[in-house]
């Protein structure tokens, strides 16, 4: 068994173990143990990856493992990681770990809840380690489908509607991706020998005919873009997040939306650079609109989760925006932004869940002055907010600045002008973050029933602090992460530049 497959196997084993759990107590401890092992494994992966690189291993993919799965169609189970996937795996394990503790008190059908949650996580891990497009798509579906159950059963508000909307829109995206992947597959042999392949690297080396790229690039990009909340296919996000239970929002915004950005980069841009170059301008406009539109949309929302969902639209728009710039700095920024936003938004949703659990409302107008009553959650909320508006020393700043500097290095004036438009989001972000902080946490206590709320308990502290420490660590010392990603981006960008 290779180390990467463990990332899929451990969640599955955890799921089996949970099936034998007798009560909530056992269920959550089994989940926590499984995900703690997963977190340790991720840490081990990061260290061994860096160690390999330090030893001078310059192969594009490390820890590769390949077995034939279905030989007549040349489908393989191929895994391997580079700096980008390692970073994403680390993000996922942190968010899942924090998510388990954030749903510590999930009393209703707890076994089934944790099973679905961890199953979803295994899909996400599988997606990040796959190098074979077919396996990648399989894991993608594994990650997306449990979402329906998680929102539909354990959600709140109009949960059936939201779950259905979210699933259908994402399935629509999946359908596009499916067509795109098949298109890539059937165009993967320019020699005409019908020797097709799903393998990412082989396809990249062989190249896809430009005519096919023109047709399949927009499909693939849009398909992944739906999951990355690309305007105007983002409306599943506010409703879905608002109805989802805490841990699901965390996982969904923190990790699942990153599948969109990661897929758009790995599949759409990496395999079809010429078409990407030709058609980028359309999507650059769409993503720039996402960035600004999401931020403005968040300014007037009243529900905490809606604010955060629109904020996610804005931040994830920035990821896709940077990916489309197709230069090394911007792509690096995109990956850092994925990680940074993943941690930040997970933290936000965790805090919102905890606040909701106490006040039983998510409308900011019904709360006020909570800082005095629940100082721990208040302070963490403020720090998360500051990270979100890009305060130096926290991860958001690193990501946004890398993106802006990278995008502004583009030789084309059009790209630079759009970059300037996208930068205006930093002001609007400040407006909506401070608005929430001002109403929710500061000022006099507005609701007398809230005077006797209790502050965070240990599992809540553990969950939020895990995320907070990660955010601060990236913000204070970003160089190792940035260098790790840069090293892996170099061959990719060089190949793209050579093709163009």
């Amino acid at each position: 068994m290779d180390i990467l497959s463990l990332f899929v196997v451990i969640p599955v084993l955890t799921v089996f173990a949970i099936m034998f759990a007798k009560n909530l107590e056992q269920t959550r401890w089994i989940s926590a143990t499984g995900m703690l092992i997963q977190l340790g494994l991720a840490a081990f992966l990061v260290f061994s990856y860096l160690h390999e690189r330090n030893l001078g291993n310059t192969a594009q993919w490390l820890f590769t493992y390949d077995i034939v799965w279905f030989s007549s169609l040349n489908i393989h189970y191929t895994v391997g990681v580079d700096g980008i996937s390692v970073a994403m795996i680390a993000l996922t394990s942190i968010v899942v770990f924090a998510g388990i503790f954030a749903s510590w008190e999930m009393k209703y059908l707890s076994r089934e809840f944790f099973i679905s949650l961890i199953l979803l996580a295994s899909g996400v891990f599988g997606f990040f380690i796959s190098l074979d497009l077919f396996t990648m798509f399989l894991f993608y579906e594994v990650a997306v489908i449990p979402m329906y159950l998680l929102i539909g059963i354990w959600g709140s508000g109009p949960k059936e509607y939201s779950a259905m909307k979210l699933t259908l829109m994402l399935m629509g995206g999946s359908a596009l991706i499916m067509v795109g992947l098949l298109g890539i597959y059937f165009n993967s042999d320019p020699t005409g020998a019908m020797n097709f392949t799903f393998n990412l690297n082989e396809i990249a080396e062989r190249g896809i005919p430009i005519e096919a790229q023109r047709f399949f690039f927009p499909m693939t990009f849009l398909g992944f873009g739906v999951l990355g909340a690309l305007f105007p296919f983002h409306t599943w996000s506010p409703d879905g997040h608002a109805s989802a239970p805490t841990a699901v929002s965390m996982l969904h915004a923190g990790v699942l939306m990153k599948l969109g950005g990661y897929g758009a980069f790995r599949v759409a841009i990496y395999l079809m650079p010429q078409a990407a170059h030709e058609q980028a301008w359309i999507f650059i406009i769409l993503t720039a609109v996402s960035v600004v539109y999401g931020a403005f949309g968040a300014v007037v929302q009243k529900d905490l989760k809606y604010i955060n969902a629109y904020s996610s639209v804005s931040h994830c728009g920035l990821v896709l925006f940077a990916i489309l710039m197709m230069n090394q700095t911007a792509l690096n920024g995109a990956v850092i932004q994925m990680i940074s936003h993943g941690l930040m938004t997970a933290l936000f949703f965790a805090l919102i869940g905890m606040i909701y659990g106490r006040t039983h409302t998510r409308l900011i107008n019904e709360m006020g002055g909570l800082m005095k009553i629940i100082p721990f959650l208040g302070v963490v909320y403020v720090i998360a907010g500051l990270a979100s508006l890009g305060l130096p020393g926290l991860s958001g700043f690193v990501a946004e600045m890398t993106i802006f500097v990278g995008a502004y290095q583009h030789p084309d004036t059009f790209h630079r002008v759009v970059t300037i438009m996208a930068t205006t989001s930093i002001v609007v972000t400040a407006v909506y973050i401070l608005r929430v902080v001002g109403i929710l946490l500061l000022g006099p206590v507005r609701n007398e029933h809230h005077l006797h709320l209790s502050d965070a308990v240990w599992w809540e502290r553990l969950s939020t602090l895990t995320l907070l420490v990660s955010i601060a660590a990236i913000g204070i010392a970003p160089l190792w992460l940035s260098d790790m990603i840069n090293f892996s981006l170099k061959p990719i960008v060089e190949r793209i530049v050579a093709i163009l």
Binding site: K372, G390, F397, M401, A430, P478
Partner: protein
């Protein structure tokens, strides 16, 4: 040559104290945090003084030029091979001068707060925020590159946000902190875009490269132009917008008066002496680029500075909250500094304005901090910010009274106090380059003298009010900083600035120009005289004057309705005009399109579900007839 790497300790000590008191402050008695902070700052101040003495007097200029030394530098984040954010320490005349200013005023504020904030809830929090601010400000002044400056620029912004909103249960303080952050953030957007444009043209962030006369901007300015102004000028104007936001220049000044909601030592430290001059410091940092590559941008600086200075002085005349008078006075004085930079040239005596601006920055930090701390002492005694609640306090607060008077005379520009010397150099530079700005400068000098003495007489003379309890002089921890700063305000004017801080790092000689000094002193005396007549004894003259110029008085009192304009822009345009329509559009157009797709599918299936009747024979009939139909079709198709 001295090794300056120990200067790393100067910002790191406050950082360490911030982390300790921030994370563990609630475990100790509050006073422990206060004393730790003060001790740390004392060490930092001592190190700064050592550095200043070494740099200016022991090492001195090498080959007639002060060296620019990168004491520490490490790569923090790498964008491309040439573009990377370094964190480091740049030692040169202005950074060393700022080190002294920041640590001195910060130390005074720390000591003063031991008395002023005594017994407040959140005493430890206050000190940890003060340390955070000191760290950020020191990082800002020591920055080796423009991106490092931006990083700390944002950090001082957030520390200012936290300290203005220190009384977070007070809605007005929350609103003020939010306003300060958002307005400066808006300005920072300009700064950021300016950085992006500069980095694109020059491919570097480094200050030494950017300002070097053989560097990419100055030696080879990029030819590309937009609306007749070169890209470099645009970039530098945008950078200046960032500076104007932080330094409360018109029209981005609206946050400064509201920022007075913060505790008074904070106003003294952040909103009078250090953070608000960051904009001036930024322009001074990039000064060679402004002067040699973008004279258009420098004109903008000069006129924005001159106008702000006059504008703020006019408003300061009518305000009744003593901290707001001082806030507008700060804005006016910073306008002076900006104007001085704007009228300056590069090199030798041409660079008089630059030297004067830095000189004024230094002296202003001392006397304005003194004014604010004095105001704090007054507020501490009478528990009100309002001038109408004060009067005749000179008997009760002798030390505060004397030091406040010194500060007022200093800011009015009475020789031989420090304000006179620095203001004189500014006016000389303005006269030399731009007579119109000189006229504004002289006018502002008169207004300044008038409104400061209006304040002084209203507080310490005039009619004695009914106080709830007899006002008493503040404790020694509060008066010692006052005395120290009064000392600095009196004597700092004798520092030979033209031998220390100059535009091209070389020294030059200055001499007092009587043609400038005499009118400026005269107009100051006139201002003081008018104020004495109007406010020394209670009389009806002020009311008669204000009612005779009712329109102007109201305009000034209402701060020319700039706040209302902003209110309109934010509430009506941003909220109601942009955000609400976007939210509506999202709910009702985009989302409904998605829902319409779902509705279409559901309706279609409703329509066709009648076929599934459950009647086996109906299915069979359809089946059979379809088969017959198909047979006919195929027979027709394939029979010929």
């Amino acid at each position: 040559m001295t090794n300056y790497s120990y200067t790393l300790l100067i910002p790191l000590i406050p950082l360490a104290i911030f982390l300790i008191t921030g994370l563990a402050g609630h475990k100790f008695k509050p006073i422990v945090s206060g004393l730790t902070g003060t001790m740390g700052l004392t060490i930092a101040a001592f190190l700064s003084y050592t550095t200043a003495i070494r740099y200016f007097f022991i090492d001195g200029p090498a080959n007639g030029m002060y060296p620019q030394i990168k004491a520490v530098s490490t790569v923090w984040l790498r964008f491309t091979d040439t573009l990377h954010i370094d964190l480091g320490i740049l030692i040169d005349p202005i950074s060393v001068m700022m080190l002294v200013v920041v640590t001195t005023v910060s130390l005074m504020a720390h000591i003063y707060s031991l008395g002023y904030m005594k017994g407040e809830r959140g005493f430890a929090r206050f000190y940890s925020f003060l340390s955070l601010f000191s760290f950020s400000m020191l990082g800002l002044v020591l920055a080796t590159n423009i991106f490092q400056m931006y990083i700390f620029w944002e950090l001082v912004g957030v520390s200012s946000f936290l300290l203005i909103g220190f009384y977070y249960e007070k809605p007005s303080a929350v609103a003020a902190s939010k306003k300060a952050f958002i307005v400066t953030r808006f300005a920072d957007l300009g700064f950021l875009i300016g950085i992006l444009m500069l980095s694109f043209t020059t491919n570097t962030f480094d200050f030494i490269t950017l300002t070097s006369t053989s560097g990419p901007i100055i030696a080879a300015p990029a030819g590309a132009a937009f609306v007749g102004i070169s890209v470099v000028s645009w970039a530098l104007i945008l950078v200046f917008i960032g500076g104007a936001g932080k330094s409360a220049m018109f029209p981005l000044h609206i946050w400064l008066p509201d920022a007075m909601e913060g505790p008074t030592p904070v106003s003294a430290l952040i909103h009078a002496a250090t953070m608000v001059v960051a904009g001036v410091y930024l322009v001074a940092r990039l000064f060679p680029a402004y002067a040699l590559a973008a004279p258009d941008a420098l004109h903008v600086v000069a006129w924005v500075g001159g106008f702000s200075s006059l504008f703020a002085a006019v408003i300061a005349i009518t305000q009744i909250d003593i901290k707001r008078v001082l806030a507008f006075s700060t804005m006016s004085q910073i306008g002076y500094m900006m104007m001085a930079l704007g009228v300056s040239g590069y090199g030798d005596h041409e660079g008089l304005g630059y030297m004067a601006s830095m000189f004024h920055l230094f002296t202003h930090a001392m006397f304005k901090a003194l004014l604010f701390l004095g105001a704090g002492s007054i507020i501490h005694a009478v528990h009100s910010n309002n001038m109408t609640d004060m009067g005749g306090l000179r008997k009760y607060l002798p030390i505060t009274h004397i030091t406040f008077l010194i500060a007022c005379l200093t800011i009015a520009g009475i020789p031989p106090l420090s304000g006179f010397w620095s203001k004189d150099e500014i006016l000389a530079a303005a006269l030399h380059h731009n007579p119109a700005l000189f006229a504004i400068g002289i006018g502002v000098a008169g207004l300044t003298a008038f409104y400061m003495f209006r304040l002084y007489y209203n507080v310490f003379w005039g009619q004695e009010r009914h106080y709830h309890h007899t006002p008493h002089e503040s404790p020694l921890v509060m008066t010692i900083p006052l005395m120290f700063l009064a000392f600095a305000a009196v004597f700092s004017g004798f520092l030979p600035f033209s031998h220390l801080v100059t535009s091209d790092l070389k020294t030059f000689e200055t001499h007092t120009d009587l043609a400038v000094a005499i009118p400026s002193v005269l107009i100051a005396l006139v201002g003081i005289g008018v104020a004495t007549v109007m406010y020394r004894k209670p009389n009806s003259l002020p009311d008669r004057v204000s009612s005779s110029i009712k329109g102007l008085y109201t305009a000034s009192f209402r701060k020319f309705w700039i706040d209302e304009v902003y209110q309109f822009v934010t509430k009506k345009i941003i909220f109601s005009g942009v955000s609400r329509p976007i939210a509506w559009f999202d709910r009702h157009v985009i989302d409904d399109t998605m829902n319409a797709v779902g509705w279409l599918v559901v309706t279609t299936s409703e329509r066709i579900k009648g076929f599934q009747s459950g009647q086996v024979q109906q299915y069979a009939a359809v089946f059979v007839s379809s088969v017959v139909l198909l047979v006919l079709v195929f027979v027709y198709l394939f029979s010929n």
